[in-house]
Amino acid sequence: MTQEPLLRMEHIGKEYFGNRVLADVNLTLQRGEILGLVGENGAGKTTLMKILFGMPVIKETGGYEGKMYLDGKEVNFDSPFDALDGGIGMVHQEFSLIPGFSTTENIMLNREFTCYSPLVELFGERLQTLNRPAMRQRAAKAIDTLGVRVDPDMLIQEMPVGHRQFTEIAREIDRESTKLLVLDEPTAVLTESEAAILVKALRKLADSGIAIIFISHRLQEILDLCDKILVLRDGMVIKEAPTKGTEIRQIASWMVGRTVEDKKQDDAVRVCLEPILRVDHLWVDMPGETVRDVSFDVCRGEIFGIGGLAGQGKLGIANGIMGLFAAGGAVTWKGKALKLNDPHGALEAGMAFVSEDRRGVGLLLDEPIDWNIAFTAMQVQGRCLKSLLGGLIQWRDDVAMASLAQEYIDALGIKCVSSRQRAVELSGGNQQKVCLAKAFAVGPELLFVAEPTRGIDVGAKKLVLDTIRETNRHKGTTVVMISSELEELRSICDRIAIVDEGRLAGMLSATASVEDFGLLMLGAGKGPEVAAGVR
Amino acid sequence: MKARRLVVRAAALFLFVALGVFLFVNGKGHDILLDNKTVTMGDQTYEAFASALISLDGKKAVEIQRRERLPEMLVGKNHVIRVEVMNRGGKVIQTREEKFSLGLDRTWLISLPMLISGDARWIQVFKTGEN
């Protein structure tokens, strides 16, 4: 008779607004077992954990399918607090610590030990005074359990990142009821030595009977730490395997291995005529997408892809060159040095950018479509303006704006009531088309497109990609496309560079094997042979 | 536990209100008019006397002459008045001490002749506009 597993998830599925993100996921976890959960961005890892943790967003978007059992009892958490009570601790990617509090105060946050004070009878529980010595003792014990050295009295804001991570884990395991700990990319911010300490600490925890779900992109860690791995791709379980006997290469191919059925439409071998854009030692300070040192060339007329996992810096490249975030290094455009940190200069030089942050940067949500499409062209190139008083005053030409907008509404098939409709009222796909139209309206020689298909439905995805290809083929626009979806890049690009930890991990032809890409993305394949093509 | 807390809170609220009432009564300032005029109440006439020393609550005495009306201030409810009637030579000829308590009205009139004669109506609420 087998022991009832600690956690059993059966046939879990989830749809967001008709968009399926998880389908039929099964998972079991024994006490003291460590499960490595891997998958590309958007594979459904986070959603799965949100379901487990009872995040309100799941309920608000219509709940989930399937059943969860904890200790053999069916559970359905209404809120993260229920999940905590149920014995699930979660360490999120972003720190959830109070910066001005000490380690002890953070570990004991809202679970402080208190002493009775008579005023409680009058004004309620919260007028008890804190029992700091007891708190400190308890916190020190929790830190000890991890087997690390963290000063219980040090303020979080003065701590190295690694210690913050330990503090957060200590808080989760300090709860008496914690049976299962979920760690979402805990090592992403750690140095290698810190990560090693963490891995050791987690092992120790598991030995004490706590089950752990460990999410990471660093496959070596997964192999070192976990008992078994679960690979998710496109919301489905691709593979469940014990770590013993599994190799990084295998995992990588499971993760990214979609068969390329999408044959290239024009297979003519395209040769690089001349580099139109030359990037030397670029660094970009974009929060969460830091670029450290990147050099590459883009050829005139090609579609150049930049791939890599989220947070590795691929988005930073475009944002940096377009002047949206502080950048340094040298960028040469058509033989001339491009001034960095100057969005106007980049636009004037003939580049355009479709931002990944559609609603934040890409659109004027409260303004009509024609404003959105014509604005950049008007401001940079003086289009859609009419001169009054002999050019003294430049007035907005609403008619010209409307006709320009209409042109793209027709060309891209933007579904809207009229060009006066406000952008906020459009669907995601149509908003993306408006963003593209805005970039096209400038008539760029080089177009940066970042995550063009994020958050839009399948039909719209194809349309958007086709539009990009069309522009490249017929207008001769050079395109730099940045995407987390490798398949998308492979279907449209000529060459693809993979970025890892703010540096170029390698550059491959779009026809290279999926495994090679996977290895580069996971930072496991740094070697001379794949690094060919990197200048 | 819950019940105890409720009781404690109710008691505190009660104490709060009680203290308020206590302060209200005990801290109320009253204007007292000491009156040494001849008054006629019904068929009875009380003659004012030449002068008297009056002490309220044992404080230093003040002297009042015939047909005078002196304002004094008292705080709280219960008080003692002591009147020493003097003859023309300044000699005390009669002493009388009375306890009295004041209601919530602000201004009170004490008729000294009536007090000395023992008429119970010696202290009355003084209404502005009358007299």
Partner: protein
Amino acid sequence: MKKIRAFIEAAGLPRVIIGGFLVLLFAVAPLAQISVARSVSDTLVRMAMNGVMVLALVPMVQSGCGLNFGLPLGIIAGLLGALLSIELDITGFAGLFFAMGVSLPFAAIFGYGYGLILNKVKGDEMMIATYVGFSSVSLMCIAWQLLPFTSPIMIWGYGGSGLRVTVSVSEHWLHVLSDFLSFQIGNFYFPTGMFLFLAFMCFLVWGFFRTKIGTAMTAVGSNPEFARASGIDVDKMRTISVVLSTMLGAIGIVVYQQSFGFLQLYTGPFYMAFPAVAALLLGGASVNKATLFNVIVGTFLYQGICTMTPSVINSLLQTDMSEMIRLIVSNGMIIYALTRKVQVKR
């Protein structure tokens, strides 16, 4: 029922309530032996008097700098212009336009500095604007004492030093704008000149927001990140809007003064921003979106309440409640706008 709800939604609840209240006031005015024609006329005069100052808030709202509680800065510039024009003894239209003309460079300089500050404190503009306004007014209190003006109209005759608290414009340009082309029918007086001027200023602002820069400014207010990505210098646009707001404030106070008859120095400009802000919000503007329509409707409603409550309520209830009603309506309006869910996007 549905139609009514839709109407309320479209017009905004406060506007409906205040509008209804105003209609009620006009309706009961005859009962209180108040001439409706006279009241309407008063309302219009005050509306034209204050219109430009309310208009002065629009550029900053549109560029995302929030409500310009720092309007006193513009008012100070306007006062300087007006004082100079009186000092030089220029009368009539010449004096009025001289005052405006001279106040503009002052306003531009003040606005520029003020804009620089506001660019450094994005997100906290309103509170800082309020105190920049307050402290500049109190600083000018010192200046009014020290500035070497000599015209006997404005300095204390004896026993005091510095400028008077109120300086009359009656010998220079009282009502020159108000009376321009004005007409009177019975009790009804219409200050045509002021309305023409207000219309002209509105036209200028309207025209400005149709220019390339004006369009860019609107985009900055709507989404600064978008504007930056389109190559717009966001800080520059914000500075321009602040300068513009300050300049309009300067012109606004001169218009106000020629109708009011006095310059109010010292603590006079202290609280002048609040009625203007309340009027704009009453007109349906939000913290980050305002139109000329909001200006006109808001000023009319607000000044209507200010004109009607003293006369009607006083004569009906025999008490003067107007000041409180004004305080409650105007500040209540501002709080309502601040606590609305739709907040300034950053």
